[in-house]
């Protein structure tokens, strides 16, 4: 699931939820967001949190429903500083970026709300 992207050119995730695996990975994703018009949804998650795990299949369904939106997953333990930068205080937290800037966020298991804001921001 997902792969390492070494070039900053826009990528099509095509329904995949990409798990960020390294610092460079994250920098690349952020750069991608800044240089494209695509909506990016960041799923800040943790494997020890029930609510976070609950959302995994939901996020996959959303990625399938909106293939023009980039979905990335960031483990808050592996990337504590990124989580801190985005002031993630509870999980799951979904941050929606456009052009590298946060436009909305959804905190918690809120399927309807996440669907609504994705639909609103994707164009």
């Amino acid at each position: 699931m997902g792969g390492q992207f070494s070039s900053p050119s826009p990528q099509t995730f095509g329904g995949k939820v990409v798990t960020v695996k390294s610092k460079e990975d994250w920098e690349t994703q952020l750069q991608n967001s800044k240089t494209s018009n695509k909506l990016m949804v960041i799923d800040f998650s943790a494997s020890w949190c029930g609510p976070s795990l609950f959302m995994d299949p939901v996020v996959q369904d959303l990625a399938n429903e909106f293939p023009d939106v980039d979905f990335i997953k960031i483990d808050i333990d592996d990337f504590k500083d990124v989580a801190d930068t985005f002031e993630v205080k509870a999980i799951p937290t979904f941050v929606l970026l456009k052009k590298g800037k946060e436009r909305e966020r959804v905190v918690g298991v809120k399927k309807d709300e996440l669907h609504r804001v994705i639909e609103k921001l994707r164009s």
Binding site: W48, C49, P51, L53, A90, P92, G108, V109, K110, R116
Partner: protein, 387 residues
């Protein structure tokens, strides 16, 4: 002096404890005026004129269960948080409720349910449900699931107020006696320190029911809990918890709006909130602040309006101030506050805070239960209200 009805004995013996009925008068810290009514120990004190209501409304008063576990392993890790969602759903299905929203942090997971809340800590489960849910049916499944994680139960506490519509409750919630029998059958023998108690107030419609069982009579390090029940909510304030037709919102966004508009977000500004607004009315929220949970549930309909606020005590928060802010959100005519293992100071501060809102303390009664400590039950009504 208000008598406490204590059902059940403390028996540290290895044989199963016996259940007996007795009326005891434990020592009180503050002298009380004479009794205005007497309680028959054989039945649940209820508001008798509700029994003549042909149709019952939604029961806001919750049943609350707290299960404390211990690990055989030297390192517990995330303990009960390992329970997968399928297992949790299985248990919730037996109680007839479903997950509506959820949120977690480093310390615990919280779930907003169709009929209240669930909190999962590494070694503790708290589940609180309203309506006509059969909460006690979750006891054995939770104990069994925990066992698969090498966790064994060491304490159980069941609490509730008095139902507005007791006749509408299904088995085993048809009476406190029935609940006690069911609980005694559901818990292992090693929880040998047990006590059941009905703590009365001056209001026949408001008693506090406690069943506590533990492997240790006086455990260390038990945090305190505050459970606030509010009835006869101010109608203008209660209206804020009704959805507007065609508002273009979903339960999540409507819930978030209610949290802001009503000032619930200001009760504890440090808490992360997971909220939800039900259709056509009703609201629930869970708050997460470090390792402390808080939870609010609202049944706003006139005639049986109800709101609850519950919070775990912490040295970081001013509990009395939070209780005051919560009560102010709803403007109830009657408030009951039950604290478990709270200091006299906390109880007095809460009393003072509620009185600052213009309410009058009508009663203060208490009882000591094993594995949980002192339970203090205070009731307040607006000054206009006659009892």
């Amino acid at each position: 002096m208000l008598p406490i009805i204590s059902l059940g004995c403390l028996t540290p013996h290895a044989l199963s404890p016996t259940l007996s009925l007795s009326i005891t008068k434990p020592p009180y810290n503050t002298p009380l005026p004479p009794l205005l009514y007497s309680t028959n120990p054989k039945h649940n004190p209820t508001n008798t004129h509700n029994l003549s209501m042909a149709v019952s409304g939604f029961e806001g008063f919750e049943k609350r269960l707290e299960l404390q576990f211990s690990s055989h392993d030297p390192v517990t890790g995330i303990g009960l948080r390992q329970l997968d969602f399928k297992s949790l759903e299985q248990v919730l299905h037996q109680v007839q409720c479903t997950v509506v929203s959820a949120l977690g942090n480093q310390h615990f997971d919280s779930y907003v349910l169709s009929e209240s809340s669930l909190f999962v800590y590494p070694t503790k489960i708290i589940i609180k449900t309203c309506g006509t849910t059969q909460l006690l049916k979750s006891v054995q499944p939770f104990i069994n699931h925990a066992r698969t994680l090498n966790l064994h139960i060491i304490a159980l506490r069941y609490t509730r107020g008095s139902f507005i519509f007791p006749q509408a409750q299904p088995y085993p919630h048809t009476s406190f006696h029935e609940e006690i029998v069911y609980l005694e059958d559901s818990i292992p023998h090693h929880l040998c320190y047990r006590k059941a108690s009905v703590i009365p107030s001056k209001l026949t419609s408001h008693s506090w029911h406690v069943f506590s069982a533990g492997a240790v009579e006086y455990p260390d390090d038990v945090p305190y809990t505050v459970e606030v029940c509010m009835t006869d909510l101010d109608q203008t304030l209660a209206r804020k918890f009704f959805r507007h037709p065609n508002d273009g919102k979903n339960g999540d966004s409507a819930g978030r709006e209610m949290t802001g508009l009503t000032g619930i977000n200001r009760i504890n500004p440090n808490a992360q909130i997971c909220d939800f607004a039900f259709e056509p009315c009703g609201y629930s929220m869970n708050g997460l602040d470090r390792d402390c949970y808080s939870t609010i549930h609202v049944t706003p309909e006139h005639g049986f309006s109800y709101a609850s606020f519950e919070c775990l005590g912490s040295m970081y928060n001013d509990m009395a101030d939070m209780v005051k802010k919560a009560v102010k959100v709803f403007g109830p005519a009657t408030v009951s506050v039950a604290t478990t293992n709270a200091s006299d100071d906390v109880c007095m501060r809460i009393k003072g805070a509620v009185e600052q809102l213009g309410m009058k303390c009508r009663s203060c009664s208490m009882d000591v239960v094993p594995a949980a400590g002192m339970v203090v039950f205070q009731t307040f009504t607006t000054r206009r209200k006659r009892i």
